[in-house]
Amino acid sequence: MKRDKRFYHENIISTLYDIKSQNYKITEEDIKNVSKQYSLPTAKVKQLATFYEFLEETKPKYEILAKGPLISKKSTTIKSHPYDAFKKSLEQGPEYVLSEVKKSQLRGRGGAGFPAARKWESCKKVQNPEKYLLANGHNGDPGSNSDRYLMANHPHQLIEGMLIAAYAIGANKGIIYAEGEFTDSIKKLEKAIKEAHQEKLLGDNIMGSKFSFDLRIFPAAGVYVCGESTALMRAIEGKVGEPRLKHIHTAEKGLYDKPTALNNVETLINVPHIISIGGDEYAKTGTATSKGTKVFSLIGDVDQEGIIEVPMGTTLEHIVYVHGKRPWHTVKGIQFGGPLGGFLPKELLVGTELCFDALSKHGSMMGDALMVIGPDKPIPETTQYFTKFLEEQSCGKCVSCKEGLRRINELLEDLKTSKGEKSEELTNLILDLAENAKESSLCQLGQSIYNPVSSSIKHFKEEFTKK
């Protein structure tokens, strides 16, 4: 893909990516050339070339099942999206933005649900002329393409959200981390950034103010662990995406050791909406602790797979039966939150609301993909699908995660062949390993192995022990 260098964050990884997408492979010769170009030892380039996936371009299929305030109107051209909320923010000042976002009680859509305003405040406090705002468009959960859809069809909304957030925290540099395989999203984003530059909405002294913002796209090279904040930053720096200890917060020392705020693409797309309708109005939708709407992919044994936007507080039952069009007897349970989320049996779908705390109480997680599981699908195999995915996509540093996943997969395989013999023993050992991964691992990926494993064993134990 030909890129306009002004709008991209280029580093060694994107160089390797270009080679891979042109020649379909990276040869020893290429590695030597790249190492000369960046004056790095060949071994280090080799490490990068084998660590990252460099995924090939894929063709997406977006099916919209339910619309809400966020995705009701596409914003692919600047005419359809006049940046009113950003202009309003510029008039009212950064304090106004922070207080509105605080009032809206917006929580990060990446999974953990950390309050966005608090994240911005801690980054705002740090004094540094150079600050980064990153948008996480990793969207790595298998089967999900909601963030990809948002980037492809609402690029101006995302840019406006980033402008407002950057204005609030005083960031002067922004990078959108989008998977390189999402060529449609990247092209649309590039076009939108170009348009915004022409309208002087990006660049130096925007609209005559003192606020300057430089926005670029980083075409990332895959690997699920790079969705983790510190690993993502390393990938942007052109290093191996291994997470680091968060003992020093990224708000103080993040990307290139500069103060950095990282938000999910969906979180940022919420921001213009909050500013235009007001924080109090926004907070009227949702449950006591989770406000607004949530966009995610509905996948698995449903009538039609697709993307839905529903208000927080909608019961999971409603989502499965109304949007998934599945009657009661054809559903066994769901899995929410991708490989790091958890399983819920159908009994729990009744009355459980779409809410960060309600989901985590039951051992699941708010995520980008809700998978409906039909009665024919064995739960141990679905669990193995996720643990196999994690085994492949972990960075492989911590013993508890790397070796733990290797053994969990072996034991799940044993469980399949043993036909009920020693199944009690094996499931206990699997649980032990998952718990150890939760206790001993460094990053969110390793710690969250526990969620899919323990929730499946907890709710569907008879399937693991049956003869």
Binding site: K44, K46, C395, G396, K402, L405
Partner: protein, 355 residues
Amino acid sequence: MAKLKIDEHEVIAEEGMTLLEVVDETYTALTKNRNIVNRIIPRLCNHESLEPYAACRLCLVEVERNGKTKLETSCNYVVKDSEEITVSTNTPRVQKARKMNMELILAKSPNSEHLKHVAFQLGVKKNKDFKKKADESLENCIECGICTRACDQLVGKSAITLASRGTEKHVEKATEDCIGCGMCYHICPTNAIKMEDKNGKRKIWGKEFELVKCPTCETPYATKEMISYKKELLKDINLPEDFFTKCPRCYDSTSNEDLQVETKYAVAVLKNICKDCHRCVEACPKGLISQSQDFNQKGYAAVNWSPVPKGLKKEDLDKLDLEKIGCAGCQACYRTCPESAIDIYTKKGKVIVLK
């Protein structure tokens, strides 16, 4: 200075130290025995002279901060002035996690004597019913990254690296940058890397290096590549030609006898125990150990260590990267000495035990 509570002991430690160092220093001060520290906090991927990596997850301790208790790896947890933390090194929770991680490591590489020893100390006796993984080349490798970090940080070559990710992660064979110094071989805690010196040839990583003979004693002592790398590092300094050609045993220089160099590491040779076997002389990848002229009580000419290569002058040192040319604290001499006559001291931050 940061205030900490380590088990029952209140200590004051310098900011910037890692928890592992603080705990080590505390227990060394309390027991007057340096060898006990591995029993208090076991470790595999940590090496005093390398940046922490936190892969083995054995050095976990329980850290209480702001009322929350969490397991943290002590090797990369840096102590800060502003926070007061309580550290417990031996709770059931810590023990359970360490044991499980050790079991996982042992299941992967069951044949290494060092791993067996650490497992025994932790009370891990038998593997749970894990299948063993048969690796063809690096059977005992646990991907702790000590060799790759040493090649990068201590040698400055970065010829080997950890490649791929997940369970596929492995140490990739050395690239053409390899100089055959043997640092990785000597530093590997599980002896996974094989090296062979035979008939004037050194075999490592499937490569063959020619060993250069010392013109005086005719013993092969270093590879050609090692010498040319040394020349490259010292190219700005005027040195006699035999500085590079003679082996450290034969290169006799009285010029820097009184050269006092402050380095982070100090190697102490217990002269009366040394039996002059010269294993350390051969092991030192930097050629910093040589034979002395004084005989000890048993009649052996004990070896001598110098922090920088002999023959360098004081004014040269300012121009040099001492980590690359001088002692980097790799502990190769310490590990190879059959008589335990070598001790290494590393300069660390100060810890004061109050109670």
